[in-house]
């Protein structure tokens, strides 16, 4: 290549014309003259012009080239020549490459050295029914994988209780710090705002009946029984569940999990168990913290907007709440912690072997965890109603 470059050619403001010339030195030979600078960005002749010449002279059996007036060339010339050669092959016309620059000949030889592989990778359009069927089969497989994962997690938890689980205590400490202490700022902010919003919305309605004092009951019960656990669960699903999926997914991509397996170390015990344990320990504490901060949000509205004194608000809240409400909320938070850990770790371990697969895994982990939280909350609502608590 005489230093012709796609980039410089593409940036030329005035495209340079290049030309094709044709002659027939003998009856069965078409001589193609390539003139000018054959680079991308120039106005290039079409290979159809050659085809027209060939069709106008049916006795042509051979194509040769004259490149004495060729100044520069790059991939543009190569793609043009490949089209000529292909056309010639289809029309049973031989292409004599001798007149071409040596570099061009070598690149053409290199391009045809390895024939194109028949890979059948073209997308086959599936019918709607077969798509539904494939999705159903995939759903069943995915569900059975999930059940198997949950079963393995349960077994490793049993091993933990009898003191036989193998994982590093330092890893547990680190994860506890990441999903406990480091989550406090975001849990504080969200819980405070939820308490504030609940109090504000409730106050508007209760004020109409002169019952604004019951804002304390509303915020206290809602936070302790439902919102503290649920909002903490959703925050942790987005924050910690995604992190677990990304960590384990990247380990899957780097073959670190394969390395654990081949050393006889169970990834379930070494990776999943400390994460599950960390969330089981931290979620109740975060939930309790969220409850208190949420009540504080209500205090701000009660004291600031409704002219309720702090003592009144505190006394009312204390009277409305009992340990049952807190207990239900904390119990739910433990369950949510297990669901978040299982979702994050499952999606991480199921991750494909590419960077985009890690992104898919983290998104899936968050969605799975949030759906599981909401569904389980619904189940708890039915159970507590049946039990009358």
């Amino acid at each position: 290549m005489t230093q012709g470059r796609l980039m410089d050619a593409a940036k030329k403001e005035m495209p340079t014309r290049c030309e094709l010339g044709f002659s027939q030195p003998t009856d069965d030979t078409l001589l193609i003259r390539l003139v000018g600078s054959w680079e991308i960005g120039n106005v290039l002749p079409s290979a159809n012009e050659v085809q027209k010449q060939v069709e106008s002279g049916p006795q042509i059996k051979r194509i040769t080239f004259d490149t004495q007036e060729l100044t520069e060339w790059d991939s543009a010339l190569l793609t043009f020549l490949i089209k000529i050669i292909d056309q010639g092959f289809r029309n049973q016309i031989t292409t004599d490459r001798e007149g071409l620059p040596k570099g061009v000949i070598r690149l053409l030889d290199l391009a045809s050295a390895v024939p194109a592989k028949e890979t059948h990778k073209e997308g086959v359009r599936e019918s709607f029914l077969s798509h539904v069927g494939a999705s159903a089969v995939e759903f069943v497989q995915s569900s059975s994988e999930m059940l198997a994962f949950i079963g393995e997690a349960f077994l490793s938890f049993i091993k933990l209780l009898v003191g036989k689980a193998r994982f590093r205590r330092s890893d547990l400490g680190l994860i506890i710090q990441e999903c406990g202490a480091q989550a406090l700022p975001i849990v504080s902010l969200i819980s405070f705002l939820i308490g504030l919003i609940l109090a504000f919305v409730g106050a508007i309605q209760l004020k109409m009946f002169g019952a604004q004092i019951y804002v304390a009951d509303l915020v206290g019960i809602a936070m302790a029984r439902e919102m503290g656990a649920m909002m903490t669960g959703i925050i942790m699903a987005g924050r910690t569940g995604a992190a677990f999926a990304a960590q384990l997914g990247t380990m899957e991509v780097n073959e670190e999990i394969d390395a654990l397996k081949t050393m006889g170390i169970s990834p379930m015990e070494f990776l999943v168990l400390p994460r599950m344990l960390a969330l089981i320990l931290m979620m109740p504490l975060l939930c309790l913290y969220a409850d208190l901060v949420g009540i504080l949000g209500g205090v701000v509205v009660g004291v600031g907007m409704l002219d309720i004194s702090f003592t009144q608000y505190f006394t009312q809240t204390q009277a409305a709440l009992d340990l049952t409400n807190f207990g239900i909320g904390i119990f739910k938070s433990v369950i949510y912690g297990v669901l978040i850990a299982l979702s994050g770790c499952l999606r991480g371990i199921q991750c494909g072997r590419s960077a985009s697969a890690v992104g898919v895994a983290t998104t899936s982990a968050v969605v799975t965890a949030i759906v599981a939280i909401i569904v389980s909350d619904g189940i708890f609502a039915v159970i507590t109603n049946m039990l009358g608590i």
Binding site: Q3, R5, M7, V114, A116, A355
Partner: protein
């Protein structure tokens, strides 16, 4: 090497991460159309040097000149222009995993040229044919082997017919036959396209097969020891580290 034959000049280059100096006082010249090897033991800073040359890390001191233009002293627009004349093959291919092989090769063409989609497709097919991957256009990187990913990475590096091709450990992870084929491909591309080729490697077989010139980096002194054709260095160099490296430890 005369100034007119110089394509890339490294002048008083010092590379550092914070206070830690990786390499200092590097001075060498790469001629146009040459295959230039950056060699040295593991961890001596070969890949770091390449990162400084391709615009990924600014040197602590010194210059990298392309056709007389100091890359790190010029404006971002000129830096962009210089960088678009690079083609880089990273150690593991560095293909974008969410794009197919064809889309990987097509991306620089779509970004930096005015070609139509059909023209881009033709050039993509050409580049993949050159590296023996015709027919694998619709495969994702995760669906092909490591060696094929490397070749796809090479096709992408060549997409814009670059002035300079950089290879970072091109034969790492390849079997000897594939490594030899890749060496042959590098030489063929250099001879046909006239590109300057800079290779970071410590594979002796490749070094002796393809190199026109080289620089030897020493991790102990954190500077370069010598430059020259590796075959000539093997015959004539008296430096024990160079001899030990080029004889695979047989000569100290």
């Amino acid at each position: 090497m005369t100034e007119s034959g110089s394509h890339i000049i490294i002048s008083d280059l010092t590379m550092a991460y914070g206070d830690f100096v990786v390499m200092r006082d590097l001075n060498f010249t790469i001629g146009r159309g040459e295959v230039f090897i950056i060699m040295g033991g593991s961890g001596c800073g070969k890949s770091t040097l390449m990162r400084h040359m391709v615009g990924l890390k600014e040197p602590a001191r010194g210059q990298v000149l392309y056709d007389g233009v100091s890359f790190w002293d010029t404006d971002p627009v000129e830096q962009d222009r210089i960088m678009r004349n690079f083609g880089i093959l990273y150690q593991s291919g560095a293909l974008w995993s969410s794009l197919t092989v064809a889309e990987n090769v097509a991306l620089p063409l779509g970004e930096y040229t005015n070609l139509s989609p059909r023209q881009i497709q033709e050039i993509v097919s050409l580049k993949l044919s050159l590296v023996g991957l015709a027919g694998f256009e619709e495969f994702y990187p995760s669906e092909i082997s490591g060696g094929m990913r490397k070749r796809a990475g090479l096709a992408r590096a060549m997409a814009l017919d670059p002035d300079v091709l950089f290879f970072d450990e091109p034969s790492a992870g390849l079997d000897p036959v594939s490594a030899r084929l890749l060496d042959d491909l590098i030489l063929e591309l250099k001879d046909s396209m006239g590109s300057t080729v800079v290779v970071v490697t410590h594979e002796l077989a490749s070094i002796f097969a393809i190199a026109d010139n080289s620089v030897f980096l020493d991790p102990e002194t954190r500077t370069m020891i010598t430059t020259g054709n590796p075959k000539t260095l093997l015959k004539e160099s008296h430096d024990p580290k160079v001899r030990k490296f080029l004889t695979r430890g047989e000569s100290s």
